[in-house]
Structure formats: structure tokens, C-alpha cells
């Protein structure tokens, strides 16, 4: 489908548009459900009123202070993980090239744990996580570099770094005192519980800056998926595009981990789900972000309500929901 206005033209895939719209609707539905339900049920009209600042005080407290920040953080973190996964899976041409497999998320965890042990506040932990992610990414990139970075080298070096960092994380936990270990352990499972606006804001800012960057490099990145030579022959500056994409991907997984802890599987599953839903060739940025947002908020809703009053860590559910759906989709494929 092509839209032409004068010499301008934009090409759109109908199925991708419909999928995108459906995912948006789904994200809204999950959000409303998360805002409305729980120990205290808030009727939908009261939610709308509370958002507009005219609701009953109880509704305003529960929706505005407790539930809305959690939902918004979930949407943003899910989108950031989805986008980051899409970037690295495209660059490495490999589903296992997700940031949670190639050490970036583990590196963020190391930074977070060190901050916890050092007795840091929530803000310091977030900063530690972001720093840990960036340092790991720089090291993995430098170790994999040989006059340019080959996808499979990045994956192999990353998997090595991942194993090493997980060992470091376990070691740090055994050395920490019992209180710190408990705090770090809770953070390490990946959770959205108790997230406030101060958690959502950094992710929102990061997305506001990085989303346009991702949109800009997504077309050349799809060309690079055909091979460096093929892309260069089309006039693409492969290394420049790759550098921008890596920077965006690292920062996205860094801020996402800083806000919610290392929630596993969203970055791996969201791009794969999105690609199969849109049936578009190669990795799709927008759909991956939306899928990530839906996946994480739906998982968080289930984590809160499924075994209520027992609260599950959201990471358990992202793996269960995303994994099941991915297996079902893969089984439907012919080969």
C-alpha cells in the first residue's frame, strides 16, 4: 500500500498497520484492567475521572499514586526491552542476540547489585544498573571487534560474558549481608511492584530520544540484514548505522533494567512475536516495542492477580506467557 502526496510517498504494509492497531487496543485494555482490578475495585468511569483529576479521593489515590505509575512503567519498560531486542536480533541476525542473552542485562544486574551492597538508594541502584549495562556492552563490543563486528562473534562473546557475569552476580550475593542480599534478590527477579513516577520518567525520556533514532535507522538496518556487502552496495554506511543502533539498543536495555530489574524474555520474545504477527520480513521496530509493552503489562497483571494475594515476580510470567505463545506460533509454522 502506497500513499503519495506530490513527490512524497510512504509505503505501508496493511497487515503491519492492523497488527499495530490491534496491539495498541490490547495495551489499552490490559492497562484499564490493571487500573481497575485488585483488592479495591475502581469502576472504569472513576478511573477516567481520576486521570482527569476529578474522581473520588480514594480512586485518585489508588489509580494515580499506586496503580498508574506501575502500569505506565510496565508499558515503557516493555517497549524499551522489545525495541532493544529487535535492534540486537537484527544486528546479529540471530534471535539469541537479545540483550538478555549476550550479557547486557546481566551486566546491568551486576551494576545494580554493587549499588545495593554499597547501600545505595533506588536512584543509585538504577544508575548502577545503567552503568553496568553500558560497561558490559562496551567490553563485549571491544572483545568481538575485528575491523567491524560480525553478528555471530558478538553473540558468542556476549554469551561468554553473560555466563561470567551471572557467576559474578551469585558471588556478590553470597558476600552481601542478609538484608542487602534480600533487597538485591527481589530486584534481580525483575519486578514492577512499588514503581512510582520517578521510575517511569527516565524510561519515558530515553524512549522519547531513542525512538526517533530507531525509526531513522530501521530502514538501513533491514538492508544490513542481507549482509554487509549487499547493504554497502546500496550506499548504506554500515558501520555508522550499526554504531547508532548499538548505542540506542544498549541505552534502552540499560534504562529498562534500571527501572524494573532484569526482566527476562521480553527482549527475546517480543521481536519474534511481532515478526510473526506482522508477517513482515526481518525485524520490525514499532511492532516489537508494542508487543513488548503488551507482553510485560499483561504478565504483570497476571503476576498480581493470578495467585492473589500471593504476588509473583513478573519475570516468571513473562517467560511463561511469552514462551508459551512463541512455541504455539513456531508449531504453526511449516518449518
Amino acid at each position: 500500500m502506497t500513499i503519495r502526496v506530490g513527490s512524497w510517498s510512504v509505503r505501508l504494509a496493511p497487515r503491519a498497520l492492523i497488527t499495530g492497531a490491534a496491539l495498541l487496543v490490547l495495551a489499552c485494555a490490559v492497562s484499564v484492567a490493571a487500573l481497575a482490578t485488585g483488592e479495591y475495585t475502581v469502576p472504569v468511569p472513576d478511573i477516567v475521572a481520576a486521570v482527569l483529576g476529578q474522581g473520588p479521593p480514594v480512586a485518585e489515590l489508588i489509580v494515580g499514586k499506586l496503580r498508574a505509575p506501575r502500569v505506565v512503567t510496565g508499558l515503557l519498560v516493555g517497549a524499551a526491552f522489545g525495541l532493544s531486542g529487535a535492534i540486537f536480533q537484527s544486528l546479529t541476525r540471530n534471535p539469541l542476540g537479545s540483550p538478555d542473552f549476550i550479557g547486557f542485562t546481566a551486566g546491568a544486574s551486576t551494576g545494580g547489585i554493587i549499588a545495593v551492597v554499597a547501600g545505595g538508594s533506588a536512584m543509585t541502584i538504577a544508575g548502577g544498573a545503567l552503568a553496568g549495562c553500558v560497561v558490559t556492552a562496551v567490553l563485549v563490543y571491544a572483545l568481538a571487534y575485528r575491523g567491524g563486528v560480525q553478528g555471530y562473534r558478538l553473540v558468542l562473546v556476549g554469551i561468554g560474558a553473560n555466563a561470567l557475569l551471572l557467576a559474578v552476580n551469585s558471588y556478590l550475593l553470597t558476600r552481601a549481608n542478609i538484608n542487602d542480599a534480600a533487597t538485591a534478590g527481589a530486584w534481580l527477579t525483575g519486578s514492577l511492584s512499588g514503581r512510582g513516577w520517578d521510575h517511569a520518567l527516565p524510561v519515558a525520556l530515553a524512549l522519547a530520544v531513542l525512538l526517533p533514532m530507531c525509526a531513522y535507522v530501521s530502514r538501513p538496518m533491514r538492508m544490513i540484514e542481507m549482509g554487509d556487502d549487499a547493504a554497502k552496495a546500496m550506499g548504506i554506511k554500515v558501520e555508522a548505522v550499526r554504531a547508532v543502533a548499538i548505542a540506542a539498543g544498549v541505552l534502552l536495555s540499560g534504562v529498562a533494567t534500571a527501572a524494573a530489574g532484569p526482566v527476562i524474555f521480553v527482549a527475546l520474545a517480543a521481536p519474534q512475536l511481532a515478526r510473526r504477527l506482522t508477517r513482515s520480513p526481518g525485524v520490525t521496530m514499532g511492532a516489537s516495542a508494542l508487543t513488548g509493552a503488551v507482553l510485560l503489562t499483561a504478565a504483570d497483571l497476571a503476576a498480581q492477580r493470578l495467585l492473589a494475594p500471593t504476588q509473583l515476580p513478573v519475570g516468571v510470567l513473562t517467560a511463561a506467557i511469552g514462551g508459551t505463545y512463541l512455541v504455539l506460533l513456531l508449531r504453526k509454522e511449516r518449518h
Partner: protein
């Protein structure tokens, strides 16, 4: 040395040339002080034994490999000084191997050849549409438009890649071993197609393995050995038993190709097989 001198090269018109090229991968030097110019509107074939540097030379001409010394010139400018998209509108490359994106259709893959002509706000012009349709017609893949590229045969897939390079609409097209991995009928099919494209006025440059195919299709032959150009010119003038022995270490007889009149290399038999009675 009976190698033919580089025939007429200072006089012929050439949009694409390399001067004093030293080519190397990391520290491994493949070729030094190479001078080459591709005659305009020729079908140039680069040939030579394995590891003679033929693909390396092609990659350098296509700006995939930066020469350690010397420079590649396109239309009188150093190729790396030109905007990369601008180069991509003048010079196309079919790499030795490219990765087919998962689940892409033939029409979508061919359309990707239009990238150098597109901008963020001009993603699909009428000219794009026309070029893609024309490229698919020329390579005879129009009927395959909605098929998934992964599910095609090797020969069909190579035609699709060629269509993508054609859609780029470049006056110069470089092909790195376009017939590798194809059986004999598909090899001929691809080479015939290249000859057709050459006849429509394109400059074609291909790296080939088969000397007989090179003689048949080339209007200009570049013969390499050990990183140096040993001979160049029209196949009929260049290819002699002496040259083949020197370059490929093969004793042979050269007869006329009964179909085209071009040189046909017949390797000397080590033992004669008697025909069954």
C-alpha cells in the same frame, strides 16, 4: 613471457578504474601495484586460478574493500570521496553471497534494490515501481512475485538477486562469481541474461571460474595470477595455450568454440580412453 600486453588501455574510455592499488585483508597483502580500467560498455570478465585476487580486485572496484595504497576512480573522482548513495546509483554489486531475509517475497526483495533512489519521505515513487517491474521482467521472475524467496530453487534465487541489482538501475554492474552453486543450465541462463544486459548498454564486470564461459561471454578479459594482471584484452587475442599453461598450470589445446567461434580450452588428456566398440 608470451603474455599479451594490456591492449589499448591508455586510450579507451573508462568510467571505472583503479590505479596503483595495494589490496590486503588485515595484514595479508593480496595484490600490489595493480592498474586496471574497465572499458565502458564492455562485458569484462576477471579470471584466474583460486586465490589469485580476482574477487579481491572486484571488491575493491565496488568499494567494499579499501585499498591500502592507490585509489579507485569512478567518473574521474576518487570513489570514496563521492556520497555513498550517489555511488550506489551509478555502480551496483551482486555480492558472492547475500542473506535472504526470513519470509520475504520476491517482489519485496527486488524492491529493496531501489534503496539508493529513495528517501525517508520518498519511499515508493512511480519510477521505483517502473524499475522494479522492468527488472523482474528482464530476469523473468515476474510470475514469482508473491513467492517466498527461501522456497525458490538456486537458479531462481540467483535471478531474483540479479533482479534486485537491476532495479538499482546502475550503468555499471559488478558480479562476484554469479554462477557459483548453480548447475550448468542455470549457469548458462544467468550468463545469457548478463549478455542481454550488456547488450542494452550496461557495463558488466564479472568474476568467473570457468575459462570457456569467460571466453564465450567476455568482450574484455582480465587474466590474473598471484595478485597481478597477466594479460587483458579480447579473449580471441589473449587466450593461448601458452597463457593457460602459465596461469593455470594446465597443458591444453585451444580450438574454436563451434557455437560462437571464441577460444575453447581442451585440457590435455593424461591417458586416452578408447571408445567402446
Amino acid at each position: 613471457m608470451a603474455a599479451a600486453p594490456a591492449k589499448g588501455s591508455p586510450l579507451m574510455a573508462s568510467r571505472l578504474s583503479g590505479t596503483s592499488l595495494t589490496l590486503a585483508y588485515d595484514q595479508r597483502v593480496v595484490a600490489t601495484d595493480l592498474n586496471v580500467s574497465i572499458p565502458d560498455e564492455s562485458f569484462t570478465v576477471i579470471i584466474g586460478p583460486n586465490a589469485c585476487g580476482k574477487s579481491t580486485l572486484l571488491r575493491a572496484l565496488a568499494r567494499m574493500l579499501k585499498p591500502k595504497t592507490g585509489a579507485v576512480h569512478l567518473d574521474g573522482s576518487v570513489i570514496t570521496s563521492l556520497p555513498s548513495k550517489e555511488v550506489a546509483r551509478r555502480l551496483g554489486l551482486l555480492p558472492q553471497s547475500s542473506i535472504v531475509p526470513d519470509g520475504i517475497t520476491v517482489a519485496d526483495l527486488v524492491a529493496r534494490g531501489r534503496y539508493p533512489h529513495q528517501r525517508l519521505m520518498r519511499q515508493w515513487s512511480k519510477a521505483d515501481e517502473k524499475a522494479v517491474a522492468e527488472a523482474m521482467r528482464a530476469t523473468d521472475v515476474t510470475e514469482l512475485g508473491d513467492r517466498i524467496v527461501d522456497e525458490l530453487s538456486g537458479g531462481q534465487r540467483q535471478r531474483v538477486w540479479l533482479a534486485m541489482a537491476l532495479a538499482q538501475e546502475t550503468p555499471i554492474l559488478l558480479l562476484d562469481e554469479p554462477t557459483t552453486f548453480l548447475d550448468i543450465s542455470h549457469q548458462i541462463e544467468v550468463l545469457d541474461l548478463c549478455a542481454d544486459l550488456h547488450e542494452t548498454g550496461r557495463t558488466m564486470v564479472a568474476v568467473l571460474h570457468d575459462l570457456n564461459q569467460a571466453c564465450r561471454y567476455a568482450t574484455h578479459l582480465i587474466v590474473m595470477r598471484g595478485g597481478a594482471i597477466v594479460a587483458e584484452g579480447e579473449p580471441g587475442d589473449v587466450v593461448t595455450p601458452e597463457l593457460v599453461r602459465q596461469v593455470f598450470e594446465l597443458r591444453c589445446e585451444i580450438i574454436q568454440d563451434p557455437q560462437t567461434g571464441t577460444p575453447l580450452i581442451v585440457p590435455e588428456a593424461r591417458r586416452r580412453v578408447t571408445a567402446p566398440a
